[in-house]
Amino acid sequence: MKYRGARIFLEALRCEGIDAVFGYPGGAVLHIYDEIGKCGTELGIKHYLVRHEQAALFAAAGYAQATGKTGVALVTSGPGGTNAVTGITNAFMDSLPIVVFTGQVPTHLIGMDAFQEADLTGMTRSCTKHNYLVKKVEDLAPIVKEAFYVANSGRPGPVLVDLPKDVTAAVTDFNYPEIVDVPSYKPQVYGDPKQIRRAVAAMMKAKRPVLYIGGGAITAGANEEVRLLAEKLNLPTTCTLMGLGGFPASHPLSLGMLGMHGGYWTNMAVNNSDLLISIGARFDDRVTGKLDEFAKDAKIIHVDIDPSNIGKNVKTDIPIVGDARTVTKQLLTELANQLEAGETIADKSEWHQQIADWKEQHPFWFHQDGDIIKPQYVIKELHRLTDGKAVVSADVGQHQMWTAQLYGFDNPRNWLNSGGLGAMGYGFPAGMGAAVARPGETCVAVVGDGGFQMTLMELATIKQYNIPIKVLVINNGFLGMVRQWQEQFYAHNYSQSDIAVQPDFVKLAQAYGVPAFRAEKVSEVTSTLQEALNTPGPALIEMKVAREENVFPIVPAGAALKDMILQ
């Protein structure tokens, strides 16, 4: 069948099983929008018109993070593409499978400083896993096929495909390739059996081990295997910010989150361990603190599909390159063999007792006294009212850390946030993407008053498509995390962090036609939350919270984990 490029593009998306595209039209992609208007519905592809390209990328990221499926964004050339760059970088840092299609000026105008021209493949080379410029329509289908394959295999990441306007107008036969072969790209799936044996031997012998789970375990769908490994070896298990939900928070072996805002007991356990088993995590600086002081007595086993993560920040004793789920299965098999052969697992009762003592000494704390709402209380109530089962996206800042500490994620893919890039404005559109991806589930975007104002124009989008996302604005009138650092490390000099001049968020949502609720006193929190959660379709809840609450513990930037500030 002969089609023009724009139709081939949509047919290719259909072949990839794509049902949602987040995008924004413009001159260079008008052929595509023409086809979306003509046959999008027939091809089963629903286009969501966002109100800013950055939100298209964040929504696609939320869609990907909540499902593991590839998110798709479509934007125009020039400013469309440059507005998308933050979202692309976010997906790159958090290893999210996204394919971004950008318009480009016609091939004969490329390099001529044409209207709305930008060198998008050039600009995004360092923030995409790979990118393509389609130079002729015959290449379009094979490139789209390859783009989806690269984006969602190995260590996933964003892939950009730049589509010149004449390519989408040109006509050719449509044949979607059945298989894709990129000889230069072969991610390693199986772990080296030699290293697997060494790892299991070390795990059986360890007296003070900690299992440390990152986002890679969720990407690989390894949560069941990870739970089995932890249970069979009786391993205290911590998750990174990106790994929350990779191991159930309510599990007796769970230590919660580690790192800069991790629990005291968690960081103490990691720092005093004799064996640290990392699965799908990358020893980020927010996790390790000062590297020289990090888990000094621990042997390190590092399982990662990306070899460049191994040995990048910490010296690894047992490196295992491979897919988190496959390698964990291999570890379980080897463990079963060892047990059958009569090998035994070292006793860890003292270690568990020690960790329990640490936890008793310094649990997470906050004081909910008086009428003023404490933000932590709101998160706890949200957990209670949603039974801990909601899909929760967070923006970036204090509310993000409180949610990470206190919501208690038991399931993977229920926690979405911008972990690596820390991009304010992520929470709301990401939650919107998640709500599109997982209809029928409770989806809540926990945002701060600062970050929300970076992408609040999407209220129009959720209204237009009746996307059932509940936006929970934790409003303290400050850029809270900035203020906290200024309080703790800059002698209370609150320079440019007071944002008390702000719209009435309830009226604002109502202006967009979105039902809105507000709580100003503790006594109103539960009923307001409940009412909003019961409202069908989108809703906004504003919580006026204590202005100067801090996130504890906090490991100051560059300090050792053991030097965390507790209050």
């Binding site: 080379r125 080296d192 059996p193």
Partner: protein
């Protein structure tokens, strides 16, 4: 320490920018660089000389391997290999003693005179980086008017390739294993 890294990459638009961009984005240095197509002109070979401690070199190699259109990366420094650079020099060569002196250096270094004028030569020489340096040092007092020098190209010695392949075959066999579903 100085390392010579050889990459086989897709011979396509933007490939050099991807590799060079990776170096600059991560703060690594490119000391010299050579690129040209291979026999199969869908592929190119890049030879990069760089420096850094073991950890940095390991990261450079791993990051290069991660690029989707990079086929192979080898640190040639580890194995026996041959390295060559080429240099073109415009050198003073006035009639008489000076001309003889330059010609004798050309002969000693097995270089070639590729252009002659009344008062200067263009000299071409191929050799290791050290040999090129040595020739430049000796010609400096005579007067180098212009100089152009390629980056290093390098190739692993045949015997070393065989040894590397044997080791590689041994390491790769495990990927064929099927998983025992005892879980």
């Amino acid at each position: 320490m100085r390392h010579t890294i050889s990459l086989t990459v897709a011979n396509e638009y933007g490939m050099l920018a991807r590799v060079a961009g990776l170096f600059s984005a991560r703060g690594y240095q490119i000391d010299s660089l050579c690129v040209a197509p291979l026999l199969n002109d869908e592929l190119s070979r890049m030879t990069i000389t760089t420096h850094g401690n073991d950890q940095i070199i390991e990261q450079i190699i791993k990051q290069l391997e991660k690029l989707v259109k990079v086929y192979e990366v080898h640190d040639l420094t580890k194995d026996a290999h041959v390295e060559r650079q080429m240099v073109l020099l415009t050198v003073n060569a006035a009639m008489g003693e000076q001309r003889q002196e330059v010609l004798s250096l050309v002969e000693i270094f097995r270089a070639k005179v590729v252009d002659v004028s009344t008062d200067a030569f263009i000299i071409e020489m191929t050799g290791s980086a050290e040999k090129v340096e040595a020739l430049i040092d000796l010609l400096k007092p005579i007067g180098i008017r212009d100089l152009v020098r390629t980056g290093t190209v390098a190739m692993t010695r045949v015997a070393a390739i065989k040894a590397r392949q044997a080791k590689y075959d041994e390491e790769e066999t495990f990927s064929e294993l099927t998983l025992n579903e005892k879980v």
